[in-house]
């Protein structure tokens, strides 16, 4: 069964003015779709034809002969996850147990935000910044290109895409502004809390 491009979990205008419908038309409609299409082309007739996305990612990570499988499969997964990390009316502080876990791990929400932003802005070139669960610990990491936390045995809780295509039409070179806006206006903390609950 070929993979399908998932629909966005909200209207493409839902995150305006922070994340534009125009950006979604390319980021979801072209980039995410190309990763799905490229993966399906590679899968046809391959040993991974019946595998899940996660199985493909884990089986091909670090294998120089399967870079195409890994890059496309991981980018399909990363983008689907990223769409869910945003929601209209999102951003700001988390609440409840998640807020307590963030305070415990980073000292405060402000310190978490500072560290997350530094990881996202400091990722040179294309990649992602993540809040992950590593064992019992909440951590912030960044990964280059298509790399994704599951290959390091970590559970993704939140991500921001810092490939330039993720923000260039709306923010151009101002990546720090994009990441700040993501934190202040877009983060879907309910989804993050759900990821944390499921990881237990």
């Amino acid at each position: 069964m070929p993979f399908e491009l998932p629909t966005l979990p909200y209207a493409d205008t839902a995150l305006e003015p922070y994340y534009s419908a125009k950006t979604f038309s390319f980021h979801h409609g072209k980039h995410h779709k190309a990763y799905v299409d490229n993966l399906n082309k590679l899968l046809s007739g391959s040993p991974f034809e019946a595998a899940s996305l996660e199985e493909i990612i884990l089986a091909t990570a670090g294998d120089g002969t399967k870079v195409g499988f890994f890059n496309n499969a991981a980018q399909v997964w990363n983008h689907t996850f990223f769409w869910h990390c945003m929601t209209p009316g999102g951003g700001g502080r988390p609440t409840g147990e998640l807020a307590e876990r963030i305070d415990a791990a980073f000292g405060s929400y402000e310190k978490f935000a500072e560290q997350f932003k530094a990881a996202a802005v400091g990722r040179f070139g294309s990649g992602w910044a993540w809040l992950v669960l590593d064992g019992d610990a909440l951590k912030i990491i960044s990964t280059p290109n298509a790399e994704t936390p599951m290959t390091q045995g970590k559970t993704a809780l939140l991500t921001v895409d810092v490939w330039e295509h993720a923000y260039y039409l709306d923010y151009q070179n101002r990546r720090p502004d994009f990441v700040q806006t993501f934190l202040d206006q877009l983060v879907n903390w309910e989804f993050v809390a759900q990821n944390l609950a499921q990881a237990k």
């Binding site: 390319f26 072209k30 980039h31 190309a34 870079v67 890059n71 040179f124 070139g125 294309s126 990649g127 280059p144 290109n145 298509a146 490939w163 330039e164 295509h165 260039y168 039409l169 151009q172 070179n173």
Partner: protein
Amino acid sequence: MAYELAPLPYDYSALEPYIDTQTMQIHHDKHHAAYTTNLNKAVAGTDFENLPAEELLTQLDHLPESIRTAVRNNGGGYVNHNLFWAVLGPNAGGAPSGKLAAAIDAAFGSFDAFKEKLSAAGMGRFGSGWAWLVVKPDGRLDVYSTANQDSPLTAGDKPILGLDVWEHAYYLKYQNRRADYVANFFHVVNWAAVAKNFTAALG
């Protein structure tokens, strides 16, 4: 002596319609400027602050680890963009002539085969990076791509033509259509400048 951001050698609009004015403004005045500033920050007060930027990259492995990544990224960004602006120009494109044309034919079979190889290198670079025409230490030409701002100088080669495939180089005009940008790049290559680089690289 701080590294300086030189003005573009032509107007921001000079590469229209292939590379748009807004892209040139942001690419030069923001991205290239940031690499310049960050390179200066990285080497300020070190023994290396008076070295030519190219030398920082050929010597990268000998730099202290504390500044190596910052120089690799920002020194690379500074030098790569200096080359990029110099090998582009208005009323350019076409094909090289003379010794460079002969060397390209000898290395790749034909100019068209070279264009295909450089385009494939640019298209195949996953994430951010560059495709290059370089002169190897033995004087032969080669084409390959590097990730991010990694410079061929660090590998001992001399880049004489660079194709920037960071998304910031083309996204405002071409969005996801990197292939169209790469095809149009050849309309603005200043082959006289590349030939000059070739002669200098052969020393």
